[in-house]
Each structure stands twice: as C-alpha cells, then as structure tokens.
Amino acid sequence: MGIQGIDLSLIWGVIIAFGVMMYVIMDGFDLGLGILFPLIGDEQERDVMMNTVAPVWDGNETWLVLGGAALYGAFPLAYGVILEALYLPLIFMLAGLIFRGVAFEFRFKAPAEKRHLWDWAFIGGSLLATFSQGVVIGAYVAGIPVVDRQFAGGGLDWLAPFPLVCGVGLVIAYALLGSTWLLVKTEGMLESRMRHYSRPLAWLLLAMVVVIGAWTLQLHPELATRWFNHAHLTVFAGLVVLAVLSLFGLLRSLRQRHTHWPFVFTLVLMFLGYIGLALSIWPNIIPPSVSLWAAASPATSQLFALIGALFILPVILMYTFWNYYVFRGKVRIGDGYH
C-alpha cells in the first residue's frame, strides 16, 4: 500500500490515467488526419494536413510508450493480464502505428510516383491503429476475467459486438478531433471542407456515445446502481450536463465559423468521456474484479520508479507545451515542412 500514509498506487494510477489521456487526446487528432485523408484527394492539401501535425506526432506517441512502461513498473499484474487478454488488437494497433509513423516520414521523401503507396500506408495504418484502440478500450470496459492472478478468458474474447462497435466509435471520435484540429490549423478550401465534415461527425459521435453508454449499462447493471445512487448522481448528472453543453457549444461554434472553439469543445467532450470511463472503472485497474491495490507492485518498486517520474515528467510536459506553442498558427499550402 503506502509508505508513511502516501498511497503510491493511487499516485501511479493517476499518472498512468493522465498519460493515457494525453495520448488519447494528442495522438487522437493526428490519427484522425489519417482517417480523414481519403476524403481529401488533393496532394497539396494532403501535404498541409500532414504538416499540421508533423512537428508533434512522434512526441504524441511517446506517451503510449510511457503508459506501457509505467503500467509495467507500477502494476505488473495489470500489465501482464491486460496485454495478454488483448494480445491481437494490441499487436494490430502497434502494426498500424509502425506503418503510419514510417509513412509519415517517407511520404515526403518518396518520389512522386510512389507517394500514393505511402498515402495508403498512412490511411491504413491510422485506421487500423484507431479501430484497434477502440476495440482495446471496449474489451477492457466489457471486463477481463481474472482467476488466480491469471487471465481466465479466451484469446478472441475481444472479437465481440461491443468492442467492435467501440472501435467504430473511436474512429468517429478521432475523425472529429482531426477535423476540428484542421479548423484551427488550416484555411481556405480545406478549412471549409472540414467544417462541412465536422457537423455530421459530431452527430454521429453523439449517437455512438448514447449507444455505447446504454450498452455499457446493460453489460454492467451494477454501474447503474453506482451512477444513479444518491451520492454519485450529482457527479453523473454534472458530467452529462457538461457533455450536452459541450456538444451544443461545438455545433454552435461550427455554425458561427469559429476556428478554435470547435476543437476546444471536442477536447472537452473527449475529456468528459474519459473521466466518465475512469470513474466507472474506479477503483479497478482490471475491470471487473482487480483493484489498483491488488495489482500493484510492492511499495519499494513504486517508490523507486516514482522518484524518476517526478523529476522527468514535468520537464516532458514543459517541453510538450513549448513545442505546441512554437508551432502554433495556421499552416498554408507550400509552407516549408523541412
């Protein structure tokens, strides 16, 4: 548990949740670009799309490595069980990310006649990575059976309607993040087309959230009692009200041709969904049965790793913000990538 009253497992739980959230939000919009890529045929506009995230995408992905390593260090049981249970979708996700990452770099360096190959690697990699992540989240929420500290389900448990629908849901969510990001970062034709796409994407996302939310309650009836009991109802209601307000704000800001607010509202929506998810799973790290503390590594391990994390994480955060700050502003056709 803790050392001198400090709950190390809780601290690590928060760090990992934060890292994964940074990942979902930040890699979300650049994966979204890959999903939107097929809708944009023009080579120059595709260049612009890639240029908007070129300075930041690999930093975004590093949060995923950090999340994996931190989970290993602080909750080895969860690391082992979750990664074993979700083996194939995780492998597919990694495969997608590799293709996409390399396509990102080599697309710009490829001769013109081969560029479309890298375009397809970028589109396919982004879609595969996003869909697999959605499946991973869905299968995780649906629950991972654990008996005697071992994964007690089947290797294809994730291949069920609920996780697959979550996969589709995440593709839509990332596409919306991507399209609203491009409102911030681009102008002219590209911007207006993204505005055109954002509205149906927002409605689609709303539909997916309702479907997935209802489905989750049906899979886990105990969640209904948790959310609708007296103590938690205010929190739950607050999240729902905020989400409805954000959606309203998103649609309104799209209509009023704002450049920044649609992205901000989409981020808030993602954030609220993430918080809702985290609070539903709490205090488990392997739902439905293994808590943070049951999966924790010994206090000495958590403390040892925490010392390094507390030194280095603030620096990484500062650098991240600085990087986004330096590369702020619109990207135009012909703007130097190099």
């Binding site: 690999d58 080895p76 690391y79 994964f151 590594s297 000495t300 991240t320």
Partner: protein
C-alpha cells in the same frame, strides 16, 4: 506439444522483434559518442573536416534514431503480450527498470535531441556541443537501465520471494547485480565496435569508388584507430565476462564449450569445432585442443570446468545453438582485432588509403560488429534457458497463454512489417551513406525556420530514391 509450439513461437517472436530493434540502438549509442567526439575535435581544432563529418553522420544518426523509436514502441509491449507470467512474477523489479529506461529516452528526445539535430544555427556552439554530449550520455544511461534489467534476470539478487512473486528489497543490489558491470561494459563496447566498423566500411566504400576526400580519409582513420584500440579491449572484457558467467551460470559455459563430461582430474580441452548433440549428450566431430579450455576459463593448466552432464537434463541450455553463436561472435571479434592491426601496419606512408585489398576487407567487415553483437546476445539469452529469471522462473512458466494460431498470425505480421518497413529505412540510411560527407555551408537562420519540425527524421531532407552517385 501444443503448448510447446506456442511457447516456441512466442520466443521466436520476441527474439525477432528484439534482434531487429537492438541494431538501431547499438548504432545510436556508437554514433552519438562519435558525434560528440567529432564536434569536440572541431571546436578544439577548428578543422572543418570534423564539422563536415559531424553533419554527414548526424543525418544518418537521425534516421537510425527514428527507426529505433518505432521498433522500440513494440518492445514496451512485448513483455506483457508474450510473457504475462514473467511480468506478474518479476515485474516489480524489471518494470521500474524499464520505466527508467523509457523516461530517460523520452527525456533525451524531448530535450537535447532537438537542439542537437536542429539547433546548429540557432544556439551557441558551446550549447550545441553540450546537447550532443548529453545525447551521447543519455544513450549510455538508457543502456545502463536495460542492461541492469537483463543482468538481473541472469544473476538475480536483492529480492525476496513473497507469495510466489519477487519482492525487491535492495535496489542497489538489484541494479549492481554480479553480471551487470561485465554485461554493461561488454554491450557498450560492442556498440562502439559495431559503429566503428560501420563507419569504417562506409569510408572504405567511398575510397574504393575513388571518392578520396579529406573527410573520408579522416573517418576511415578514426574507425581504424577505434578498431585497433577497442576491439582488443573488448576481448579482455569478454574474457572477464566469461569468467563471471562461469561463476554464476556454469551450465551456460559448459554448453558454450560443448563440454559434456570431465575425465578424472585431467584438464579440460577446448572443443574448437564440432556439433553438440543434445539427445546423444556428446559433441560430434569434435576437434579438441588439450588444456586450452582450462587455460581460457580457469587461467590454469589443471583445473576443470563444469560439464553439461553434471546438470540435470531439464536444466541444460541448448548447446548446439550457443556453441556456434559463441564461435561466430568470438571469431568475428578476432577478425576485427586483425583488421585493426593490419590498419596500423598499413598506416606508414598513407598506404592504408590506397590499398584496395585492405579497403575491400574493411568494407566486407562492415556488418561484422552488428553480427557479433547479435551472436553474443543469442549466446547469453539462449544460454540462460531454460530459465527466464535464472534459477527462479522457467521460461515455459513465463509465457502468456496464447494459441498457436494467434502466435503465428502475429509473428507473420511482424515479419512482413519489419521486413518491408525497416528495409526501406535501412536502404535510406545506406543511400545517405553513399552521398558521402559534403562541405557544410554556414548560413544564418531564415525568418521562418522556427516552423521547422523537430523530429529525428525530418532532420534529413534527402529523397528516398533517385540515388545520387559519386562520380
């Protein structure tokens, strides 16, 4: 049988992904230090040859680093996906060590790498040099953590077993476990040697094509000095590492030597060549040199080394594999020493820059450092079997419970992706090498340059194909 096959596939997959991965960090470690030396020499001597070499190799470094990041992403997940039993059992020790490695790498990439690759015209020379040195040190710190983790799996200490799992007790003892200093030194030097031969072969290629410029000569010369000095040091460190292994993992040594049983009290011969047969419990077609086994491993003429038959059958590592992987490593090591000595001998009157036979040899030896490094890792990892944590947990208890179908699918996927993606990456690096060092023109930063992305690969602007030819 079913289980065994899935286990084999899990091992093959891990070996495949980690072997592919280690090539990039090895070159990263070597090139980072090489770049720090080049920049330091340039600042000291103001000889522009060093500056041109710095810019040439920093591009190759950038591509290589990018490949390492992409292939490393997979490694952060392989411990859990393939070895969930191990993660639960020993994750309390190996997990935090890996966390430190990732934090170090993240920190490095976040901070100094950007300055090193993109800051030449934007920061002062001293600060730029500082960034390069920090990157070089950072790669070594990363090595430190990964090797601590691996060495602990080879020679675990500083822990208790509580409820059937490892409970760390003393982190100093865990990190500085008995085999760690030897393995760390052996690996870091291996990275330097591998890089030296990569650099040397690149220079030889240019010399053979008549591209006989000052920077090419300089890097050829530096690579050969490196080979001359470091390859023999590696042999000494390797010997010490071997003695350490003999003390802590005698079965590994017996398997490396293909040594099955000790005759009464006589010294142990060295089996130079042969085919160890695990079933027949003997080394077939063995060519032996008397006394040499005792001499090398005990530094005496009468002491015996442990024999494989003195270990229960189920505790023996596969001698057929590591007998040969060890000989590949040691043989290449000796060849590398020879190249260093030949280079020294040819230095008089600059013959080394004209002797085409020698240059062909150096070109041929280009991948030798990396092959030796992989062979060495195969030796130590297969030699640790049947244990994943030596003496504590067997590999078959460490594996996740995947089906053969799952493992074959993912393995096939990895092979296809790695071979296609990293072939392009390595091809690109080779193309950059073939361009050769160019004179670097200092130019002030342009107004829009703040917009330049700061990722490793975008430091390089050359096209993937449309190869430029020298002469």
């Amino acid at each position: 049988m079913f289980n065994l096959e899935a286990l084999d596939l899990a091992r093959i997959q891990f070996a495949f992904t980690v072997s592919f991965h280690i090539i990039f960090p090895a070159i990263t470690i070597g090139l980072a230090s090489f770049l720090a030396v080049l920049e330091g020499l340039w600042l000291k001597t103001r000889n522009d040859t060093y500056r041109d070499l710095y810019h040439f190799w920093s591009k190759i470094f950038a591509v290589n680093f990018g490949m390492g990041v992409v292939s490393g992403l997979v490694m952060a997940y392989q411990f859990g996906t393939n070895w969930s039993g191990f993660s639960d059992f020993a994750g309390s020790v190996t997990g935090p060590l890996l966390t430190y490695e990732v934090l170090t790498a993240f920190f490095l990439e976040a901070g100094f790498l950007g300055v090193m690759l993109f800051g030449w015209n934007r920061v002062g020379r001293g600060l730029h040099f500082f960034a390069t040195v920090m990157v070089a040190i950072g790669t070594l710190i990363s090595t430190f953590w990964i090797l601590a983790s691996n060495s602990w799996m080879q020679t675990p200490q500083g822990f208790e077993i509580v409820d059937g799992r490892v409970m760390p007790v003393d982190w100093l003892a865990i990190v500085f476990n008995p085999s760690f200093p030897f393995r760390l030194a052996h690996m870091a030097i291996a990275a330097f040697v591998a890089t030296a031969f990569f650099v040397g072969a690149s220079a030889a290629w240019h010399l053979l094509r008549g591209n006989d410029t000052k920077p090419v000569r300089k890097m050829f010369s530096m690579a050969l000095w490196m080979a001359l000095i470091v390859a023999p040091i590696q042999a000494v460190v390797g010997d010490a590492h071997g003695l350490n292994t003999l003390e802590h993992q005698p079965a590994k040594i017996a398997a490396i030597e293909g040594h099955w049983e000790n005759a009464d009290n006589g010294p142990t011969p060295l089996v130079l060549f042969g085919i160890p047969d695990m079933q027949a419990e003997k080394t077939k077609y063995a060519i032996e040199i008397p006394y040499l086994g005792s001499l090398i491993l005990t530094h005496s003429l009468d002491k015996q080394i442990p024999a494989l038959k003195s270990f229960p059958k189920e505790d023996r590592p596969n001698s057929t594999v590591i007998f040969w992987s060890f000989r590949v490593m040691a043989g290449l090591g000796m060849l590398m020493i020879l190249v260093g000595v030949l280079g020294l001998a040819l230095r008089r009157h600059g013959k080394v820059y004209r002797h085409r036979g020698f240059q062909r040899l150096v070109l041929l030896m280009g991948p030798s450092g990396l092959i030796a490094l992989l062979a060495g890792w195969i030796t130590t990892e297969v030699g640790r079997q049947p244990w994943v944590v030596y003496g504590l947990m067997r590999t078959h208890d460490a594996a996740s419970h995947h089906s053969v179908a799952q493992m074959s699918t993912s393995l096939a996927l990895f092979v296809v992706i790695y071979c296609s993606v990293f072939t392009v990456g390595i091809g690109y690096m080779m193309k950059l090498v073939s361009k050769g060092p160019q004179p670097h023109h200092e130019h002030p930063p342009e107004g829009t340059q703040v917009q330049t992305p700061r990722r490793p690969l975008s430091a390089v602007t050359d096209n993937l194909e449309s190869a430029t030819r020298i002469h």
